[in-house]
């Protein structure tokens, strides 16, 4: 089984440390979610993992082979970047058809049958220029490149950002379909966390250039609880637990807690114990009070 491993990856732009000593191992056959706030370093990390951007320090290897400018490795990797009407090495002047033709020559395992099917499904006019596309259509083109590349490790940066809710749901259906049929590894970054939560086997949280957490999504959801009630009761129940975030209103208090192995919140009629969504967990870990005062 293949493995993509980043060790001690650092990226600096001038005086700004965008990535700080990132260690990350991605195993084959999983769908990973990469979440983080704006500026956390997600796109930089994805571009370094796929040799589109050199690291300032550290290494990235695929099955022990360095990734950097290594065609033997890069044939197995696809990073489908966010497309933009204005930028992208003159891609903006290209028609969709031309853009996809270039992608097809770039990725050795390109699936042109799938390309036709997805172009039809998304109802794209391939004669249209990239510069004339709506945000949704730009997202569709990046999704087509990602799926049709058939690369063993495929990285999608904000694939659903421009899509409407129906298309977003369809994207996740397609993702699960492709995954169950091929077992390819996908790494998906998104800000629309809740919609992705059930699809992701593991979630990677990047905060201010560091990996804050990498964990099985269901395990994380199961050990995250929200306790609320009278301040005194909540304090008692949460004593000794890892509190990530607190909210107050009068005598009422709510805390987000990450339980460690073997820990439990004592049940009581005085407090409400609720499960948290991945989005709430993310905000508790990376929200204003925490992420930026540390």
């Amino acid at each position: 089984m293949s493995e993509l491993v980043a060790k001690g990856v650092v990226k600096t732009y001038g005086h700004k440390n965008v990535l700080q000593d990132v260690d990350l191992t991605l195993e084959a056959g999983k769908i990973y979610g990469l979440i983080g706030r704006n500026g956390a370093g997600k796109t930089t990390l994805l571009s370094i993992l796929t040799s589109q951007n050199p690291a300032s320090a550290g290494s990235v290897t695929f099955d022990g082979q360095p990734v950097w400018e290594n065609p033997q490795v890069l044939r197995h990797l696809c990073f489908s970047r966010e497309l933009n009407q204005m930028t992208g090495n003159n891609a903006n002047a290209m028609k969709i058809k031309e853009y996809l033709r270039i992608a097809a020559t770039f990725f050795p395992y390109w699936d042109s049958e799938m390309e036709k099917r997805l172009v039809r499904e998304f109802d794209l006019d391939v004669k249209k220029k990239i510069s004339k596309l709506s945000k949704g259509m730009l997202s569709m083109v990046t999704i087509i490149v990602a799926f049709c590349s058939k690369a063993e490790f495929t990285f999608l940066d904000e694939p659903v950002a421009g899509l409407d809710v129906v298309a977003r749901e369809r994207f996740y259906e397609l993702l699960v379909e492709e995954y169950t049929e091929t077992g390819r590894t996908f790494v998906v970054s998104t800000h629309i966390i809740e919609e992705a939560a059930e699809v992701l086997e593991e979630v990677i949280i990047l905060d201010q250039g560091k990996i804050l957490l990498k964990e099985n999504t269901q395990d994380l959801l199961e050990r995250s609880v929200h306790i609320s009630g009278h301040e005194d009761d909540v304090n008692k129940a949460a004593a000794g637990l890892h509190i990530c975030r607190e909210e107050h209103m009068g005598r009422s208090k709510g805390v987000a807690v990450l339980l460690e192995k073997g820990q439990q919140v004592p049940e009581s009629a005085d407090i409400t114990i609720q499960r948290m969504t991945l989005q709430k967990i993310f905000v508790a870990l990376c929200g204003e009070e925490h992420g930026h005062d540390r």
Binding site: S228, G254, T277
Partner: protein
Amino acid sequence: MNEILTQQKSIYIQIREMIENDILRDILLEEERVPSTNELAKLYAINPATAAKGVNLLVDEEILYKKRGIGMFVAKGAKRRIMEQRKEHFYDDYVKKLLAEAGSLGITKKELITMIEQSRED
């Protein structure tokens, strides 16, 4: 006041309960094939590992059984077993909560029993 709206149950538990409900409602019959974890994953757009976790609970409890290379089937007596299990959990799942809420509202046991008897007459 600080409560949050959340999906209150794990997805794999919900997968398990959906299959159980289908068996109770005769939508899935005994000795019939149930959807594979990949089929469930595609249907609900969830990770296949999560679907498998729910299905495997049912295999462990002998509600479902695996036929090698063919798929997953509803076991004989599955419906009866699910009903028995749910009866066992009825006190924890429903009665305990009923008593707790009644307690915090000052409803006595006697009043509760009267309510139940009256509702039966309806």
